[in-house]
Amino acid sequence: MNITLADLIPLQPLLIVTGTAVVTMLAVALKRSHGLTAGITVLGLLVATMVAAELMATANDQVTPLLIVDQYSLFFTVVVCAAAMFITILSYSYLAPLDDDKEEFYLLLGIATIGAVVMVSSNHFVSTVLGLETLSMSLYGMVAYPVHSAKAVKFPLEASVKYLVLSAAASGLLLFGMALVYAQTGTLAFADIASSAATAGMGTGFSVIGLLLISVGMAFKLSLAPFHMWTPDVYEGAPLPATSYLATIGKAAMFVVLLRFVVASNALAFESVVAVFSLLAVASILAGNLLALLQENLKRILAYSSIAHMGYLLIAIIASYDAEGAVSVEAVSFYLLAYVIMSLGAFAVVAALSSSDSEVDRVADYQGLFWRAPWLAAVFTAMLLSLAGIPLTVGFIGKFYLFFAGVEASLWLLLAALVLGSGIGLYYYLRIVYKMILPVPDSSALPNSAGSLGSHSVLALLLLLLIVLGVYPAPVMAIIESISTLI
């Protein structure tokens, strides 16, 4: 199949992100300048975000059999590019004191974003794997980035190797599953799997095992329990910008693929797949929330909380089959958006207080933050309450969607797990809030004033989004409703 010039128009966001990575590389080759590289990346991602938003009104094309550019993929392209841009801004002040070359981090970040954009536009196994590997390969580098720094307090190399090995194993499972499905159906495109499911191939032989292997592979990447072991260690060991990239974009892109795959391929028509998904959901909700109770490190708490949130999201995925996708697909989209905003916000606060030579990531370090740096504490409180699903924040609307999806599909047991998990979750989120409102201790690790102008404006923007989408989400709801009909 030939690619015509007209095909390139819907691919613009992807091309711009790719171009940004190339320009970044050339700029580093010509002249090392931290500010310049970061600037180019921010600019490129900003343009990509705007172009993708602009295209949303018109585009709806299958460009080559590998990529689909519809409103759904463009919506998440916007989310991914905007989040990547925010992380770039946060990285700038975080990396500033690093005693090593800083510029390549932005190159890795740009390439990872290419992978994420490919993933959200993928409806074919090949593009899924290509996107996923591009994303993961860059993340290995980002996680290990400060490895040569003498001042790095963490253990980035351990985190990176752990992530590399487990992620490669998961990719292996994923590929094996895909191969089995291919052997049965003779196709790699999501949509064709469903049509051949009606005929012979699916439902017999190895295809169910194939679907289960694919689910397990994806569960690894999404860190769903019991495949979550790597998450807390990698989150803790990685530098903060890499952690926030992994936690937000890494998860969201994978989930978009999962949703598209599940809906298009009708995988949930098999009871065994539903059973596995339900078990994954319940296990993640319980394991994530219960283990988070035991943590003293903020990055580990957020890691376990992300495990729980992925479990919540899985409920909506399961509902998408039972309820014929009425609200549940929208629920996944909205909750993903909410999740990206609130967890990015939470990491952004930690990043604003930290730098590559000292990370403020113990809960105890936050004692008295409310009186020392009220603005940062207020943002952090808002983000944590949103993660807990309290009104006036986007997290509440997201929870509302999930509950609605669950009710529609009558998934009472999963809803019970959701209530239980959220109840436990409240405890560790509030524990952090409580720590912040205690009086300032005499020996406080907190800097008096923290964060650059850039990170503060990112925080302000995220807080604004958090509250606007929590109070008046109607416009975004309308967009999500219209994009979700396409999937």
Binding site: I390, P391, F400, F404, V407, S422, L426
Partner: protein, 497 residues
């Protein structure tokens, strides 16, 4: 519009109070006072409003069209009474915090006003999503009030309060969503509008469970045994103003929810469930009265008596006839004042002598005659002395409940005797006998000052008014209660056909 203004004023006032702390730490309390007074002024406007159908004031604009959610606020006589109670107790709370809260006063008044805003929202929201929204909004500022300005064990108490109400709130959310989904199945569109949801036929297997979601959500807030255990902790740890708002207003949101939503939305299931609910109420009344008697911490004691008294409300609501409902509403109002006053007295004592432990106290009457007299007045009010508001409420509630279920009503009536025992016991412990001052300076025990006398006098007048001329309150709520009764009777008649 007036309802939006009522809530918006509190939200804005709270923000201003917080911001004003930077200018002068004394400024927030004046701003908070001004905000509440403005709100009370507006509420009196509501009293003079011409009823438009069943509602005195109403606003309904589209909010989240995807789910048929509207920004729908409306007030009838019942809500207006509770709005006035909220405004009045808000004023009292500020009075009691006036000297007690010295640290971070801006953030304190911010939280206080936002809690009140959430409560006003709960009393007026008639879109169930909006109702739930406000229901949760009032939790966070209350959490902060307990967690920042509370006493020795504040973290535990605040956390317990939050988790109890939030988790049971989620059960209620599921019930609300099931209702909205039923509406979709039966009428082809999502709706969270109270008027629409009343038409949803919920008969069937699920009705009981959906009703139970509401019941648990509301009786946790009320609270009733077995969901009450957060209350004694929250009360004993909260600062005085927090206790006033908790006992006076927040508990009433649970009772209001039962009257407005739990029973009218599920008349059949509620009818079937009434004996269980009344049994729980009677058990609550007796058990908590007994437990109150065993307390040494004066605030815990008052907290348990609150649970005991709120049992009369549950009893009245599930009797579901006019007298019982009127009694429940009167109990809500009168208990709001008497419990708030008792907490203010306990808080005042603690502020002076830094202890809530009753064995450390005794023989205070000659030192603080004014305080002792006031305490006797409110204890007598709480035990249900004729001539004061609580008597009217409990009498009507029991009278109505007697028609519905005789055994549990008889049991519940015994609670009135227990109330007399523990109320007088407290007075005797603290104010009579030999003077004891263990662990505090004798000089710190000062009598009520003029500011305190003013707000106690205001509450006394309120209770006497309720007791002597209850008709002025009954008239206001009668219309709304009769509407609710008529609605459920219609539905029950339909169901029986």
């Amino acid at each position: 519009m007036i309802l939006v203004a009522l809530i918006a004023i509190l939200f804005v006032g709270g923000l201003l109070a917080w911001a004003s702390e930077r200018i002068n730490p004394a400024l927030p309390k004046y701003l908070a006072l001004l905000t509440i007074l403005l709100d009370l002024l507006l509420m009196t406007q509501l009293l003079q409003a011409e009823p438009d159908g069943a509602w005195l004031a109403l606003i309904d604009v589209e909010w989240l069209p995807r789910f048929g959610i509207g920004f729908f606020l409306a007030a009838d006589g019942l809500s207006t009474l509770l709005l006035l109670l909220t405004g009045f107790l808000g004023l009292m709370a500020i009075g009691s915090a006036w000297e007690e809260i010295k640290e971070r006063s801006g953030f304190f008044y911010f939280n206080l006003l936002w809690t009140l805003a959430g409560v006003l929202g709960v009393f007026t929201a008639l879109d169930l999503f909006l109702f739930f929204f406000f229901w949760e909004v009032m939790l966070i500022p209350m959490y902060f009030i307990i967690a920042i300005w509370g006493h020795e064990n504040k973290n535990y108490a605040a956390m317990k309060f939050f988790i109890f109400t939030q988790v049971t709130g989620m059960l209620m959310l599921i019930s609300i969503l099931v209702l909205a989904y039923f509406h979709y199945v039966q009428f082809g569109a999502f709706s969270f509008d109270y008027r629409d949801l009343l038409n949803v036929s919920t008969s069937g297997r699920l009705e009981f469970w959906v009703m139970l979601g509401f019941f648990i959500g509301f009786t946790t807030k009320l609270p009733s045994v077995p969901f009450h255990s957060w209350l004694p902790d929250a009360h004993s740890q909260a600062p005085t103003a927090g206790s006033v708002i908790l006992a006076g207003v927040l508990l009433k949101t649970g009772a209001y929810g039962l009257i407005r939503f739990a029973v009218p939305l599920f008349p059949e299931a509620s009818l079937a469930f009434a004996p269980v609910a009344m049994a729980l109420a009677a058990f609550s009344i007796l058990y908590c009265a007994k437990v109150a008697f065993a307390q040494t911490d004066i605030k815990r004691l008052i907290a348990y008596t609150s649970v005991s008294h709120m049992g009369f409300v549950t009893l009245g609501v599930y009797a579901w006839n006019e007298q019982a409902l009127q009694g429940a509403v009167m109990t809500m109002l009168a208990h709001g004042l008497s419990a708030a006053a008792l907490f203010m007295l306990a808080g005042g004592l603690q502020y002076r002598i830094h202890t809530r432990n009753m064995p450390d106290m005794g023989g205070f009457w000659p030192r603080v005659p004014r305080m002792a007299t006031v305490a006797v007045f409110f204890s007598i009010a709480a035990l249900g002395m004729p001539g004061l508001g609580n008597f009217i409420g409990e009498f009507l509630a029991l009278l109505g409940a007697f028609k519905a279920n005789i055994p549990f009503t008889v049991l519940a009536t015994c609670g009135v005797i227990f109330a007399a025992v523990y109320s007088l016991w407290v007075i005797q412990k603290v104010f009579h006998g030999e003077f004891r001052n263990e662990g505090f300076e004798e000089s710190s025990l000062a009598d009520l000052n003029r500011r305190e006398m003013v707000y106690f006098a205001a509450m006394m007048i309120g209770l006497v008014w309720m007791g002597m001329y209850p008709q002025s309150f009954l008239d206001l709520s009668a219309g709304s209660l009769n509407n609710l009764l008529a609605g459920t009777q219609e539905l029950l008649a339909l169901a029986q056909e």
